[in-house]
């Protein structure tokens, strides 16, 4: 990481701490914002958050590793989360999943080589009456079939 990038990241985190406060309870909102901006929370970002909140870096890492939506390694710019829980499963999740996998040439859990899209499964998204459902970044799509799902994916490609 370049010194300039590091300095910029530190400045960003300082702004976030001003916004949320220098309390432990601000940790998750701060991490969520970093995640949103950079698609992951780098080692350096974790250390800086820890230093500025005056907690141990391991505390920061342990929180990131606990939550499914926070991650410490880079992911694609767009994250596709397909619901794998029972009603979406019975409504045809498997066909939707294979169609997306075929189209992108990667499996769930992987990221496209151009870093554009990461495929993940998620647990119940609360769209059980209109499944199968998926969330792309912060948008929710429902009543999917293979064709519809693939056309949504192609729009962000």
């Amino acid at each position: 990481m370049l010194v300039m990038e590091k300095n910029q990241l530190t400045e960003e985190i300082e702004v976030l701490i001003k916004k949320y406060g220098k309390e432990r309870s601000s940790l998750i909102p701060i991490l969520q914002d970093i995640q949103k901006q950079h698609s992951y929370i780098s080692d350096y970002a974790q250390q800086e958050v820890a230093r500025l909140l005056d907690i141990h870096p391991v505390e920061v890492f342990s929180v990131i590793s606990f939550y499914a939506f926070l991650n410490s390694s880079p992911k694609g710019r767009n994250i596709v989360r397909l619901c794998q829980t029972i009603t979406c499963d019975l409504a045809g999740k498997k066909n939707v999943a294979s169609a997306i996998e075929r189209e992108l040439g990667i499996k769930f859990g992987q990221t496209t080589p151009d870093n554009k899209i990461t495929l993940e499964y998620a647990n119940c998204l609360g769209m059980c009456d209109v499944g199968p459902a998926m969330i792309v970044n912060d948008r929710v799509y429902y009543k999917l079939d293979p064709e519809k799902a693939v056309s949504i994916i192609n729009e962000i490609r």
Partner: protein, 399 residues
Amino acid sequence: MEEKRKGAVLFSDYERGSAIKKLRDLSREDILFELKESKLKGRGGAGFPTSTKWMLTAAAKSDIKYVVCNADEGEPGTFKDRVLLMEYQALIFDGMVIAGYTIGAKNGIVYLRGEYSYLLDSLETYLMKMREDNLLGKNIAGKEGFDFDISIRLGSGAYVCGEETALIESLEGHRGEARNRPPYPVNTGYLGKPTTVNNVETFASVTHIVMKGGEWFCKHGTDKSTGSKLFSISGDCSRPGVYELPWGTTIQELLDIAGAENTKAVQVGGASGICLPKSQFDRKLAYEDAATGGSIMIFNEERDMIHIMNNFMEFFVEESCGQCTPCRIGNAKLLEGVKMLESGEYTFKYINKLKELGQTMQVASKCGLGQSSSNAFLSILENFKDEIFNVRKGGNHGN
């Protein structure tokens, strides 16, 4: 988007802010009295009396107290809070203001699950409007000294954070691991202060009770389960959606309403609930019979019960927070057992051991997740043993 059926209680008419304005003429005791009269129980599923929870938080000695709205709706098959959060914000937020007034809190926090982050903007806009109309902020509705405000915090994809002490841990910036109880949140909650944590639907019910009284609320439902309930109905039926029905409705009645045919099994209460066969469809949905936080999943004759079991157990293996052994190891062992049943490579001796393990998890786990995660496994094994042990033979699934 989906079917919605309005009942006589929760989805009855309500003018935004009117319950808050009514607080001008009500004392804390008046509200606690009406709540007690109403016999309202927590709508998240556990069914703890709301009046008791609020009375304890109100009685706790502290200058700082908190009201927390549990909008971490993560139970598979539940989506009624999504509908409330999208279309009935007044009921929820007015209920939180009532809670703040009753227990003496100045701060309310909504813990919104990360999966619902697309609702955040509209909720924030609604809160701004409340502040403009003096329904939040200082001297609310002109009542001297009554200050209260609400902020929203997002979850980050952890089912266990729907458990109230795990939720509080998460709010404090920690891993969402449940706490030992006692002490209970009513005394030692968010940041160590007395805190009441209630479900979205509970707050919505409170708002109606303040407007129309506890006695009115009791006219609906059964003796022990008063009022109505929002049921989230999904699975094999022609009209899935959110339905408001009085407590005491039978499963068969509900299946008819939702247009379900050839039903083999109904999962009541989500992945942590129980799976009932046809012979039990006359059971009543109520705290005293088949209890549920609202999740009803319908499976028809074509569905494979082992596949369903497998899906539930995979869910719990992923979502167990891992701090206590019965839940962390127990769920993994039950999932292994399901795989054995699937392949036909099992002995009854071992399956019986797994049943005992499931029962041990119910008593030995630290929080509600582990205590209820074996319910689906045990009830499917018991209620569908013919299908599981007789129809399937040695790995041949017949398909």
